[in-house]
Subunit: 251 residues, 8 copies
């Protein structure tokens, strides 16, 4: 690495590049070679060889173009979030494409083997939260995680949640997804002994204010180990959960 | 009842009052005798012979004046809410006065015997919610209710709440009091089979926004049987709980 | 009750089950047998044998499936709230189905005889609040309550409300439903001597903010005995009113 | 009127002022003489010869200075709103000064005779709203209006309000002042047949949000003839009520 | 007036009605005869013989029914606000019907002669505010007021407003209608010497928040004589302006 | 200039106009001639000879009418913002018309030569912000500015932004356009040494609240030199940037 | 573990406890022994043997009592958050007590050796955020983490942040703490390759709204791997960071 | 400039530094020498040789330390904003220190000669806005600008503002400062032909919500050329105004 800068310095040493020209070159492009450019390229390697495209607002042609360029660069697998069904239908003919319409989640490649520390539990308060949950679960699976889905275990029927106590207590990371009053995150983090990522959803009506109530509620969770992502941000939760589930020492 | 109007009509019949004078009298005071005035006076009888004074912003002299007038009118017991400790100290010399400084709740008389349908459970999420809870509990007790206090049973330590499952399932009415994320109301109403009155408290910091988060969360409770009163309104919850716990047929 | 756990202990006593196996069994399923599972099943018995399905977002097939399973389990009557007209039309061929399009409320079975303590009054501020009111009224009727509808008695024409003073003063529970400024709940609870359940509606424009103004207004009601449910939550109000109207001692 | 401009034009006609000088003079001071300056000076004449000083944040010396300058300009009476008690004490030695500490309202001069169209009714929901009400009532009185105070006639005890029905129905303008849920304005405007100026107050706690709830509630009043001023703005309401009560044709 | 109650009392006096029957009758219908019922019926007489129907959410059949009943009761003119174009088209065949599609305002009858104290000025900040302004202006005209329209005189081009200074200074009442930042109300009330009714509109984008910004801005107007109605409430402003413009002494 | 007033004064001097008539004329139209009217007409001259029409809510006929009148008055170039594609299609036949559908920006005339102090940089956080950015960029170009577009340089990939450091540090004015968390404005103003105009966009979901989060974030920028315009207000930013980029001494 | 239940079952087997008594005992205390009670007691073992007391609102006597009981139960180290200086002074005489007044953080015991996966970086935008940062950093240290503090590296002086690029890129977990516009979290997560816990602070004025702006901004971070805790919740961030930094497989 | 990097490259060329060592050195400190570090140091030169200290929350000792270090580095003049009077009193003994208590603004050095393009006008709506205005005005003066103060020219007395029309029309930049409804910014930008920086202030009560109303109002200004800074941010406005008033081409 840093071979370009090394080359430049060697050229200065050898006299093939003048000090002034080297100075100019260093100033003009300091970020490509001195560590920054790696940001984009070393991630796929560590996160399970998956890249992601945010599909909302992109045309079929734009998405196809990005996919083809990525594949040319040898990306083994590609996630597409917030992908409309219309566009997904047109992508079907592409090699290795699968689509989950609930989660509006497309995927190129095959789900990799889980290689994380433990299991990620994705829990929802109700059945209406499932699209967001599927986005989280599929994201985590595409990033090489073992995922367990516990759907419709909201606090108004506490026994449903408690009958999965073992799953909750043995989880590595839990993604707690709920709309309405968002109490699920607090209850789960009171039972669990691992990081809990809370995802408020826009499910509800009236004073749920499009997810604001669940969001505020989750931020106020008095149980330790809870943190919150944006309303309906299943992808963000799945991505962060995978990051935590792949924690390891950096030399 | 309505004896004054009856008397007036009889006077008209007897000729001791002219039609014009009767007309004037009926128009001038139609609300005292025709049903409205009962609103103020029949309540004490049905609610356990207690009257209430809202103490906030009233001086010692004002409160004392109201108390003495009420006692002259034979009110057996009088509650004073939001009563400052300074004023309470000066009221101590009055006959039969007791004061709870946490709840800022004063009382003239003796706690009446419970005569409600069942037991009112007052539960709080944390220890900081206790002042509001005591206001609710004392109000209910002064209105002739059997009250059980379950404090600090918040959802971040669910086993504490669950160890009181029998109390919750056998309650007549439950007052669920919590700040922060307010999840207690949802969890309790998922376990209980009776009306749950949720009281958000201003306990918390940051995104608790002085109780707004707990308030919104409680309004969104997806469990049935929950309704909500104003932030920190312990009196209102205790009063309503007593009303429900004394339900009976009106002939 | 608790026969399974009793059986298990007897097996331990008899030596037919080892202590280790018993320990495992207790841990694996503590909630089915120790009191929790009853939560779901004893409710229908006490609330008038009606079960409820939240219809919003469910397909015709899903609803039909749930209905058939419930009927197989001998549920005598089933309410479906927020049921779209399209789905209702397709359910018409089912036995014993009726539908109220205003309230988007479907019902399987026949309205049971009232058996509550007294009468539930459902009052609205305007004619636009009627859909929410009908949801509340039909819910209460399906749960065996005598219901009186007082529609369009808002405070801008106070005499309309006052001409029903007797109904208000003799009610067992009142559901006060209003949008705009939501003053109806305060006025009614000032006149009545029973619990008042306030339902803000999203009726209005401009600074009504989709029901928020009515919600806040109702929470601030200075009259005693008022509590509030979520915006447009007619079902929740009807369910709670029925609960209160069926209060009785638990042995 | 406009004598200066007339004089200037006559000077131009007479040749004593050149066209260029006149042009300059017209441009430099177009607002003093061409109608604008009257804005400040004809108001006292029509509004009852009272001028107003906003006392908040002004020192004793500043206020005294303004008062003395006004008196030198022959202002017969001067109102000072939001005047602190400390400053008021120091103003006592001034001639003709009176002070109402509740309303934090000072006045130089004597209350003028009422000369409006009819009577202004100032009504409050509770006793805590009285300071704002007194500011409104004193303002109206200082501007030559007959004022009737109806305090503590809130909607939670409707009979108190209804017993003043004659006063309400015969009022010329009504100022309805309330905190908490602010329902008073709606109820009064449903009973009255005159303009109702609603003043939300910051009285309340919890979800009253410093007067915001009353404000929103009043803006949503479904009764005709209601308009709203800022929270706690007693002066503005009194001033506007006087304006309306002195309506007359402008030739 | 009160002839029914007088008759009843005379019957009691004459012995044709017993005291008990009279008592019952007085209780059953206290509001029809003792002053309340007049509320609905004396308004048309004083306000220019126009009645109003709120058209939003009403079907053609409902509106037609109300109109026909009113006409049978001799209402000379009827306003219909928020009337959809579809319904208006179907009403065209009715006698004496006119419709303004911008304001969504329908009218039965002919515009009456102005008989108010002076002239009502309706001013808007921009052209997009005109529909709300027309609702206000037509309402005021139907209630017998002389109306002057000053449209698109917003503060970003102050000279347009100032060129109408005479109109503003001679107005009896001004309705100031603006969206965006709502500054028009403050500027006009700084120039005028009469009541200013401010109407925020939902015109704008981004941080105008559907009229909330204009609403808050208008409530904070530091000029005297301004009061505010709900967002887009042109009818309310026109109705109140007419009320003020018809102020007269009540005997 | 001011020739009309000069003429009037000369007529007074000459006796052809009486003092009274002159007085009336001065009062009736003081703003056309005494400085105000210039506001509308000297702007085009200084801002690059472009006039603007706000296209939202205007019909094809209205826009065409305004355009033709302006062209008759010799406006060399005309911008139309928020112009729908439907209307743009119909304007195509007009001479010299171009249209950018992304920015919904129409233009009559040819882009003038840049004549500002330096270069305006238009930067966006993401690709979804480009429509707003194009409105800003095209506005600035039509007002004779050299514009550099730096799109999709959001802070989540900081190296992309930093690789344009020279452009940022040499800019005359920077328009920073971002939705979501709006951090771009802070980061850019920390790097740049020139005025930064921040434009929040409504891009985002959940807790972006239609641009409110970006707006608040930008207002709190702790870096100096940042100011903010309304959400999505690309035109306002481009106009202000041009104003700043054409700063020069006024004699 | 579960020795009590095992003992009970053995007693049943042995006949020393009857089935009925065992049943009662299991029902009365199902949560202490069947898995729940472990929640409280196994945490210290895994999290570095530290327990925490929330000091806000607790008296010296209360805190001392809790501390002594914990120490009696062999807790090696105890954290006290939000501990007032007054109380801290009185705790000084206790054995092994240290106090950080900035963070209002007390500690009994000695900071344990770091044993996490890697290093936790605690970064702040400004110097005013340091108290919250110290609470986070001390919490993490007391839970056996290696902590690096990077204070005052806000985005308005980006070079300060970038000069620590190596620290950021090699961190195991980063806690990003900022008030005002909260952009720090986005910028850091764009540079880092690890979980970022964002802590909004109440630092700021005006439109920072007590931390709300930073909170919303952080929730909208478009960079992956960011999650958010409550405003000023340094302890929560430190606790969660430690949890993530001690991730390991559960058998 | 960049002498250190040049030196390093020359050392590489000369062989006194190895390529590896140079590479390490470049990576370790890329921001000090490659352009970033200049950010801090070239600003004083262009902005009039003044540096600024944000005084809020800093102790006397901290401020004194910073001042002395700056002076040692030859800063000719230093501004201190939000400086408490207590600290200012103790700084008096320092050489060349002046203090404005209204603006809480301290200054070391002497006000430099104006050298900007034109004059900056600082206008306020009321007298209560003056502290913010003085912070803006003094900041601009310390940065070498000619400043004209127009205080108390709010829109409720429009003639006061209009009598300064020449000042407004000839300004180079205008800072419009107002609380309450914030209309000043719109009115001024409608009159002026230069950039207007709007500063909302927290002056007001009730629905001014601590400056939020003025802030929103200013953001919605429909006049071109307006941008907004944070509530009460006088320094930010003065700094930006100076930046604009010193615009010049960068070679």
């Amino acid at each position: 690495m840093q071979t370009e800068t090394r080359k430049l310095l060697e050229d200065v040493k050898n006299g093939t590049v003048s000090v002034d020209d080297a100075l100019l070159k260093l100033k003009a492009a300091p970020f490509e070679d001195l560590g920054f450019a790696k940001i984009d390229f070393h991630r796929p390697i560590r996160q399970g060889a998956s890249e992601v495209i945010y599909g909302a607002g992109k045309t079929y042609e734009q998405i196809l173009g990005i996919v083809r360029r990525m594949r040319a660069e040898n990306e083994k697998s590609i996630m597409i979030t917030r992908l409309s069904e219309e566009t997904a239908v047109r992508l079907r003919s592409e090699d290795g494409f699968t689509y989950n319409p609930d989660a509006r989640f497309g995927f190129f490649g095959s789900i990799p083997e889980p290689d994380g520390i433990g299991r990620i539990v994705v829990a929802t308060g109700g059945t209406s939260d499932i699209p967001v949950a599927e986005e989280a679960a599929l994201t985590a699976q595409c990033l090489s995680n073992d995922v367990l889905r516990l759907y419709d275990v909201g606090v108004s029927g506490l026994h449903r949640l408690l009958s999965h106590l073992d799953d909750i207590m043995s989880a590595s990371v839990i993604i707690a997804i709920a709309g309405m009053e968002g109490a699920l995150a607090s209850v789960i983090s009171g039972l669990a002994d691992c990081p809990v990522i809370a995802v408020p959803t826009s499910v509800g009506y009236g004073a749920s204010f499009g997810g604001l109530t669940a969001l505020l509620s989750m931020l106020n969770s008095c149980a330790g180990g809870v943190s919150v992502v944006n309303i309906d941000n299943g992808f963000g939760a799945g991505y962060l959960a995978s990051m935590i589930n792949h924690m390891e020492a950096k030399s």
